[in-house]
């Protein structure tokens, strides 16, 4: 009782604080620099204060959601009883609480980061607008995962999309930003169309937009309606999540936003799509048809492998990270696919492993991806470029940022002892366990999926060797790296917090898994205390690694490192080092341009997967005027965006062609319009009589 009371209050506090922040921001932050230096300082304090308010708000909802997760009971919050759509109730059930936890954790870190980040463009840009959007974005995301009514859901979902649109086009003077914004808003509206269709289908059976009524009636709907709902949810939420082939907005939109917002979008917003899928697939529809899981599995495998392959071809730091979001959404969907397949087959023990893996990876991806985006933000902030080919050697100028980026890179490459490994391990286990019990058709899919997951994470490791190595190691490749300095402490503190989370979830995954299992139980409508309940850890009991291993791995790593060092001492090795220049094959020295480039690094992969990339190369050699000067050589290297050229462009062209035909109706003569009205009237009368 006490628990629920407190978490209710904290949740209301957090909503209020977001609203206050959104209102205060534009009032307090002036667009133009005040004349007096005191005024300028005051404006700086005001920005800090507003971001502190959002930090407090996220902290409050973080605590509230954690309380709900530990108490394993749902909590209803109705701060505003009367709205046009009936009761406005926010419900923190285990699933909502989990996603709220993810949102608030990242929201908190990003708010702290923004303290320093946003002050740098105070008076240069409209910071008041940024404050307003930042708070509204967090408020709306919080609402998306907690509302309990279909109409309200669509409203806050649209609100979230619109807030994101303005954040993407925040740097509206740049043409790519505006283009990215347009692409995003167009795609997201296609998604909303499918969501509305989905809710209307559900409504036609339950006669109410309440989630509770969906839960009762949806599982008993005829298979036709169920499949329609499944498809609409898959497309509608899949667009937001960035599932290939619905991803085309994502790599444009995420880099266009300011870096703190990119972290929120990539770390959290795309997860609302995952939330929607879990809510509809399991909570509403209950069980599905056997092929649903396969459909999701194929999308998942495609997204993860293609996502990481596209990422490898990028040398824009933030676009690279954006493509990795697609890859990780694929990995999350793998868990969901396993859950769908085995929940349908009635084997909930494995369904739970899959679902817990998906939820765990959701949390992990939120932490390490926002960490990566924040540290990439620091790089962009201090160097002014996102192009890796112009960077290099940053580890000496930005030692802390580099270390935090490295933590994120190791985590996203699924290497122990960080958190990315823990959840991918669980996904591997889900596939492997699935193989054991499945019938023949499922059996074949499991090992192939495992192999593709292994391919994905190994390619991700290659990609992050490139991203970290080219950006931070070696020597600087351009003047962008000349006079730069480390980010202020609050930006570093935010990154440090997320890095600590990556380490913590990785070293003790059992802590997270034991908290996630009730969520999975809830989603699958299982009684947690019932005899059917399967302990995730126990269902993998043949492999007790799940709980203790990574803790001990860390301990053992230290222990053996100690042994190694002792071994060297015992061997009376030489402890001396001498600092020398890098070996230059006997030449005078190395120039920065002799280093490997990001493009060069990914060349073998580009060649091996040339059927995906369709690389083309144009070499233009201009002969010099005089034989004493070297010719100028221009190399133009392109890879094809296959979905752009083979899916979306033909689609768009055919839509435009259809519209061109339709345009003939619009003659511009008033006589023909009168004729249309007349004909319509006659037809209507004829139909009515």
């Amino acid at each position: 009782m006490l628990y629920s009371l407190q978490s209710t209050n904290l949740f209301i506090l957090s909503l209020l604080a977001y609203v206050i922040g959104a209102v205060l921001g534009p009032i307090l932050a002036p667009r133009k620099a005040p004349a007096s230096s005191a005024g300028r300082r005051l404006a700086g304090y005001a920005v800090t204060a507003v971001f502190l308010v959002s930090a407090i708000a996220s902290l409050a909802s973080l605590v509230a959601s954690y309380m709900v997760l530990s108490s394993r009971a749902s909590v209803d919050v109705s701060p505003f009883p009367l709205t046009p759509f009936g009761h406005l109730t926010f419900r923190l059930d285990p699933l909502s609480a989990f996603f709220l936890l993810v949102i608030s954790l990242v929201g908190f870190a990003v708010s702290i980061y923004s303290l320093g980040y946003a002050r740098s463009f105070l008076f240069k840009r409209h910071v008041g607008l940024l404050l307003f959007l930042h708070n509204s974005f967090l408020l709306l995301m919080t609402s998306v995962v907690t509302v309990t009514n279909g109409v309200l859901f669509v409203v806050v979902w649209e609100g979230m999309s619109i807030a994101t649109y303005f954040l993407i086009t925040y740097e509206h003077e740049s043409q790519p930003s505006r283009r990215a914004g347009f692409l995003y808003i167009a795609m997201t509206h296609v998604g909303t169309f499918f969501l509305i269709l989905m809710f209307l289908t559900l409504f036609s059976h339950s006669r109410s937009f309440d989630f509770d009524s969906f839960r009762i009636t949806a599982s008993a709907m005829p298979w036709g309606s169920k499949t329609l709902v499944f498809f609409c949810a898959l497309i509608g939420f899949g667009i937001k999540a960035g599932v290939i082939p619905l991803h085309i907005w994502l790599p444009e939109a995420h880099p266009a936003a300011p870096s703190n917002i990119s972290a929120l979008m990539s770390g959290v917003m795309i997860k609302t799509g995952i939330y929607g899928m879990i809510r509809v697939f399991f909570d509403f529809l209950g069980t599905g048809l056997p092929w649903w899981g396969f459909a999701v599995l194929i999308l998942a495998l495609g997204s993860s492998v293609l996502g990481v392959l596209f990422a490898l071809m990028e040398h824009d730091l933030k676009r690279l990270l954006a493509y990795h979001s697609i890859e990780n959404i694929g990995i999350i969907l793998m868990g969901i696919a396993v859950a769908l397949i085995f929940h349908q087959a009635g084997n909930d023990g494995i369904a739970i492993v899959g679902l817990v893996a998906a939820l765990f990876h959701t949390l992990n991806h939120a932490t390490f991806k926002s960490l990566l985006f924040l540290s990439a933000g620091s790089v962009v902030h201090s160097t002014g470029t996102r192009n890796m080919e112009e960077l290099g050697g940053l580890i000496k100028r930005l030692p802390y940022t580099a270390t935090f980026f490295l933590v994120g890179a190791v985590a996203i490459s699924a290497l122990p002892p960080l958190n990315g490994f823990a959840s991918e391990w669980l996904t591997f286990q889900a596939f492997f366990r699935g193989f054991d019990v499945a019938e023949l058709s499922v059996k074949t899919a499991m090992p192939i999926s495992m192999a593709l997951l292994a391919l994905t994470s190994a390619l991700a490791a290659a990609c992050f060797v490139k991203a970290f190595g080219i950006t931070f190691l070696g020597t600087s490749r351009s003047r962008h790296v000349q006079d730069i300095h480390e980010s202020p402490w609050n930006m570093l503190a935010a990154m440090g917090l997320l890095a600590a989370a990556c380490l913590f979830f990785g070293i003790d995954p059992s802590l997270v898994i034991s908290r996630l299992q009730p969520v999975a139980d809830f989603v699958l409508h299982r009684n947690p205390s019932g005899a059917l309940s399967v302990d995730v850890a126990r269902s993998i009991s043949a492999n007790p690694t799940v709980n203790e291993a990574p803790v001990l791995v860390a301990v053992l790593l230290l222990g053996i490192a100690a042994i190694a060092i002792v071994a060297i001492v015992v061997l009376r090795g030489n402890r001396r080092s001498r600092v020398v220049p890098t070996w230059a094959c006997g030449l005078e020295g190395l120039a920065p341009r002799m280093q490997y480039t990001a493009t060069g690094f990914s060349k073998p992969i580009r060649m091996i997967f040339s059927s995906v990339f369709r690389p083309s190369r144009e070499i233009d050699v201009r002969e010099p005027m005089s034989p004493y000067f070297k010719p100028t050589i221009r190399v133009d290297l392109k890879t094809e965006a296959i979905f752009d050229t083979h899916v979306y462009r033909p689609l768009m062209n055919s839509v435009l062609a259809a519209l061109r035909v339709l345009r003939k109706v619009q003659t511009g003569h008033i006589q023909s319009y009168l004729a249309y009205i007349f004909i319509t009237l006659i037809v209507l009368l004829w139909m009515a009589l």
Binding site: A549, I563, N574, T582, P592
Partner: protein
């Protein structure tokens, strides 16, 4: 299998762990020596003595380390990370005893990814010095590693699935040491798949040539070109240990005779002896393969790995889909 309980068991486990730790530190240079010697004999040379690899390591440890001025802490840390992770994997592997130390931790996925951690840092260190060789090696190594991984996972999948576990100890103890299981076509195919994976992972011919410093063909050697002294010694030692790890996988998962049946001393010593024979045999086989094959062009390597992948898949099909 009679199992001792409590205190006694823990003592036995601790003893085995120490034996295994000593073995994985001491054996690898010998294995390397056997390969070098056999290759020399196949080429009608006398070849270096078996102890040469020990002397090489010893020499490197005694020399001072040269560190490039452009490097950061990554360059200095990488050898330790590589050595630590490789050694950790080696100590967690099933080798010759029924009560492997920390056996419940020898999860295949964990071990593969621990090796991946070492490789990740090595590939980063290669980019740290700012020379083009490092980038070349790093790029090629990561490319080949990502193609090897799926084949590796699949190659042990069939065996793992019949054991019902991804834990290497559980797998090794589930494979029955009968001649029929040894000659099972599915096992043979999976063995062939894992053997190709071993060649690729440990940088042997036909994927990489450990003895070359020719820029066109270097992969692993290009990555570690900047290293010297104790750093180089640790990396060399680690790659020798890695070879032992893969030999142990091949030996224990597919030729499962020899893992001692009980904890009696006699069984234990026989276990070690049989293990040594298996490892020595595999070393000679690798020398044979290296002497009779040419190194593949870089862009032909994916084809070879595809063969490994297909073999593993076929083994899986034979085992489970066609009964």
């Amino acid at each position: 299998m009679d199992s001792p309980n409590g205190m006694e068991k823990q003592l036995v486990t601790a003893a085995i762990w120490i034996v295994q730790l000593v073995a994985v530190l001491a054996l690898p240079p010998l294995v390397n020596g056997i390969i070098r010697k056999s290759k020399a004999r196949l080429q009608n040379r006398v070849g270096p003595p078996l102890s040469q690899s020990y002397s090489d390591l010893f020499k490197l440890f005694r020399k001072e380390a040269l560190v490039s001025a452009t490097t950061s802490w990554i360059f200095r840390a990488a050898p330790y990370v590589v050595f630590t992770t490789t050694l950790l994997v080696a100590t967690l592997m099933p080798m010759f005893s029924p009560y492997p130390p920390l056996g419940w931790m020898s999860d295949f996925i964990l071990l593969v990814y621990l090796l991946g951690l070492g490789r990740f840092f090595l590939a980063l260190s290669a980019l740290d010095a700012g020379s083009s060789f490092g980038g070349l090696g790093s790029s090629r190594e990561m490319t080949i590693a990502s193609l090897v991984e799926p084949a590796m996972i699949l190659s042990i999948f069939a065996t793992a699935a019949s054991a019902g576990s991804l834990n290497l100890n559980a797998i090794a103890s589930s494979v029955s040491p009968s001649i029929s299981s040894l000659l099972n076509p599915s096992q043979i195919l999976a063995f062939a798949g894992l053997f190709i994976v071993t060649l690729a992972e440990t940088g042997r011919i036909p994927v990489d040539n450990p003895a070359t410093h020719l820029e066109l063909t270097m992969i692993h050697e290009a990555m570690i070109l900047e290293y010297s002294g104790r750093h180089l010694a640790l990396i060399e030692w680690a790659s020798q240990i890695k070879l032992l790890i893969f030999f142990s996988l091949l030996g224990n998962l597919f030729i499962p005779t020899g893992i001692a049946a009980s904890v009696s001393l006699v069984d234990f010593v026989t276990g070690i002896a049989i293990y040594l024979v298996k490892i020595g045999g595999l070393a000679v086989v690798v020398a044979l393969v290296e002497s009779t094959n040419a190194k593949l062009r870089l862009f032909r390597v994916p084809d070879l790995l595809m063969v490994a992948f297909t073999l593993s898949l076929l083994s899986l099909v034979l085992r489970f889909l066609i009964r």
